[in-house]
Symmetry: D2
Subunit: 333 residues, 4 copies
Amino acid sequence: MIKIGVIGYGYWGPRIVRNFHAAEGCEVTLVCDKSPEALCRAKKAFPDVGVTTELSDVLSSPFIDAVAVITPVRTHFGLAKAALENGKHVFVEKPFTATADQAEELIDLAESKNLQIMVDHTFLFTGAVRKIRQLICSGALGNLYYYDSTRVNLGLFQHDVNVIWDLAPHDLSIVDHLIDRKPEAVAATGQTHLNGLENLAFITVYFGGGMIAHINVNWLSPVKVRTTLIGAEKKMVVWNDLEADEKIKIYDKGVQVNNGKGIHDLLVSYRSGDMWAPKLDQPEALAEETKYFVECVEKNERPFNDGVSGLRVVRILEAADRSLKARGAPVEV
Amino acid sequence: MIKIGVIGYGYWGPRIVRNFHAAEGCEVTLVCDKSPEALCRAKKAFPDVGVTTELSDVLSSPFIDAVAVITPVRTHFGLAKAALENGKHVFVEKPFTATADQAEELIDLAESKNLQIMVDHTFLFTGAVRKIRQLICSGALGNLYYYDSTRVNLGLFQHDVNVIWDLAPHDLSIVDHLIDRKPEAVAATGQTHLNGLENLAFITVYFGGGMIAHINVNWLSPVKVRTTLIGAEKKMVVWNDLEADEKIKIYDKGVQVNNGKGIHDLLVSYRSGDMWAPKLDQPEALAEETKYFVECVEKNERPFNDGVSGLRVVRILEAADRSLKARGAPVEV
Amino acid sequence: MIKIGVIGYGYWGPRIVRNFHAAEGCEVTLVCDKSPEALCRAKKAFPDVGVTTELSDVLSSPFIDAVAVITPVRTHFGLAKAALENGKHVFVEKPFTATADQAEELIDLAESKNLQIMVDHTFLFTGAVRKIRQLICSGALGNLYYYDSTRVNLGLFQHDVNVIWDLAPHDLSIVDHLIDRKPEAVAATGQTHLNGLENLAFITVYFGGGMIAHINVNWLSPVKVRTTLIGAEKKMVVWNDLEADEKIKIYDKGVQVNNGKGIHDLLVSYRSGDMWAPKLDQPEALAEETKYFVECVEKNERPFNDGVSGLRVVRILEAADRSLKARGAPVEV
Amino acid sequence: MIKIGVIGYGYWGPRIVRNFHAAEGCEVTLVCDKSPEALCRAKKAFPDVGVTTELSDVLSSPFIDAVAVITPVRTHFGLAKAALENGKHVFVEKPFTATADQAEELIDLAESKNLQIMVDHTFLFTGAVRKIRQLICSGALGNLYYYDSTRVNLGLFQHDVNVIWDLAPHDLSIVDHLIDRKPEAVAATGQTHLNGLENLAFITVYFGGGMIAHINVNWLSPVKVRTTLIGAEKKMVVWNDLEADEKIKIYDKGVQVNNGKGIHDLLVSYRSGDMWAPKLDQPEALAEETKYFVECVEKNERPFNDGVSGLRVVRILEAADRSLKARGAPVEV
């Protein structure tokens, strides 16, 4: 029975506690938050779980095997480090850390202590991403051309990070999971309108071989959009995560170029066939992920969404931030 | 009665001829194309219109008052220049010219000859753009934050220009029409996958005062999208040009920031009210534009979509192209 | 503090318990179900609530003020009667009873005992129905012409009632709430395909004054639809309950007939203006309804969704069933 | 070369003329309308076509092989009869005639004269209906359960027929084409609100073997809907004719009933799989139909949309009208 302490019971913490609480093979021993009101809510929802305002109760408890860090980004490093130093596995909310250096230090520390790190890239556990990965790996899509995501809504403005650090980790972790290439360079543009932090941004990630990713994130959109286009050689995908059913549509559409003698002889021919929406397995992604965390801790096995995958995302976030300050000038990753 | 010669009867030419043919106060005297098949089609559709394969028949005819240049971009300059030199007003397909220098030369020439140039920025004559402009000018939206357009579909690949020169002139002319600020810098990213010309691109235009425009253009999308989000202080707009009715939706939504003492005291409050879809006047935009051209020629008055507005668009296109080659490095306009 | 016993913890029971559990001024004392597994689930979700398999524990408990009957329709009468005879107020799942006679008997019994009956017509507590009622009552829509609802999906097939008794009570209670006229006649058609009970049906209710309601219910539809059109003189409404926001759209559209001399001189003119989607208050409807039940019991006041309103719905259901057997022959209500 | 005279150049006539004009193997010799304005428009659009206000010019011309009757329903019989008596094939707008008796007389007359009748059931020539027919005939859908169509919009109010005669012929001809069973009975309800003719109606057609069709037609809807659900044993179809692409969606969904001992032991199990939108051939349906008419006349072959198919539709319309007057009482066909 893996015993878990959860630090942070704000917006996302309750969902984490609920899922670890419901998972087999583990129990939530202690929930820690500096707000007594938050702890009251936790106690009401989970009467059998202990609560505390003291970090050390979680971090140095001999009865806790793993710590979930569900706090603002700037605190991830300190909390995760203390947990690892105290011999605990860690589950860290995305983005992993505020800097790549911090991520590297945590990875090394976990390695030296033989502990596991999992970064909460929940989307990797959805039926939609699993199906897209399967389509790519099976070769059904052919050579990938682009990943173009729009992830916009009204709010929730963060106070300590801009919209890139808030929303882009979702797409960056998905792209990292789907694409078997290293990013070469990042260009990001954006603007701040209200509280000094960029509230909309447009990120381009250049991969090798003509693959490009584009991510449109915005806290100030009148409507919520969660749509990703994936362009590829043989088939193309539209993923609309707001659809109740039919989140993934696969289009048998494409373009072929037949080289002629000169540039004006190029013949571009279009192919347009059926559309197909595969039925997705739709368990709750977070339930899958917490279950997987428990398994990885039990077997002391490295998860695929480990610290290193978290680091790869943070590197792109850092590059995007630097590019953003330079109005789009490309930054190598 | 204004007499018009039309050069180019390919994809767009027939629509231009049809609209000038139907407009009051003008007649289409001659259609010129190098393809005899195209001229056959023209003759069948408009039996009362003359046809020719000889440019000079149009350019030097003493019976023609104005010439419509509906040909590939690279030919605009030469044809428009010849027409102006022969004392004819010109109506030029978008984008105006292949370079800003060419545009400037044509503007000077028209000025010296006391002739009019109109650039075919058709969208400015739609009910949707007219309504948005009215909302902005009346102050209903308040301070503008961003314009974010997605204009993607499968095909039509062009052979001589990339997707930026093909699709972005629509949004750039709209932005130029709606926003009362000068562009400061352009950053563009993109990729070529098939014929050596970029087939998808993401363009950011920085305006002063926190206003930013973003344009997503793509010839290789499995689905057609024509959606623009306009973020503003008081109200926000979603324009979906593929809707039969209700193309424009106005959301009484927004965000307010109340400054506290420190950064963590910022209170961001959200406002969410009704949505409203005003009935639009929806005459055919091109019919409005051709009618307006006839009026401008008759009165020898400068149209608002004149050569100078065409030049402003071309300057951004040139900057975008330069930025694209530099993977997003910003280029001043 | 009103003490409530809940009978039936199947599909809908848990939601009822959760809402009474969360409501102010009442507590759920006992949950009764014949299935021990159901009671286990109840105990796990609400550790502070008692459970029992014995009906008499609820029906004759001196500590219980009100009984919620959340069981199959055929059992409503017996359970509600026993509860009323034992001096308890009752909250009954829709449809109120299996026959109009049963409903009348319960109403008389409650009256004689000075007890309240509430029928669970949850939709009447939604923001959408409240807004539509307000639009009608304020005269904004003008004279009503029709209510046309489509309520179809795949499953859940019931074993003891046909699709009319399962799905139509929603629309019939809404229509009863919205329309200030008595039904005159009902015509219903439909078909059984699988288990001997009609799984799709089309119900027409004739009201006086040209008002007509039509309800399309279907357990065997490949897609879920919850759309209602309301036609009226001044404005018309589309209510799509599956929309996350903008459930209600109000169209400034209509038709006017100007009488000419003969039938062929009639001039029908169309009016088409803006569309408007008012922001709705969207609390959980069931939370509103359970709160209202507690208030009505506390003050011993008659709710608007009382036994008589439940009876009016049952009368139409009975008429619809009779018409259905006669392939649409109209039945007076 | 088949020579065609067209009678009636109102709303639909111009489309008929355009298609016959463009079809191979025929020419439109003469257009007849009592309105000189209509003839002016015809002359402007088709300068090579003759025009006349005299019916006899068309009906008794020795140079005309076939007559298209594109006039109000009440005139179909007289015009078609005169054309047939003058030895001309006829193409008649839907619905075929105002009564079944008229239809029978025309069929007999054509038979005796060895002439062809085609009724303009345009939808039978669409890619959507062709695909659905193919799915049914190939057995892909399995046993059919229901056809449920919603065909509503604002206007166009007719002056001489109610909404059933205006809109329902589309669905009735489609159902006649798709379903290999005879209608047994018709029940129809509806209401008149404005000019004395029913402007909304709900028609149920009972076929044998559990198959049922339901058709919702309405001239007074704030939104346009053209959606048909087709329920069947193996797969189910949603046809949304307003979609630009993906008009037809095929759902691998269904229900199975496993008989148990008693009614409460019935196990209904649900099956839910992929959705699939086949690419449709989408030529203009009317172009296909006019081409087919020319072929049938050339070869003097009976079309599948002949007078008899038109008669079957008229019989249901008559039955629906009778049922409508009796508020839904079923009428045998």
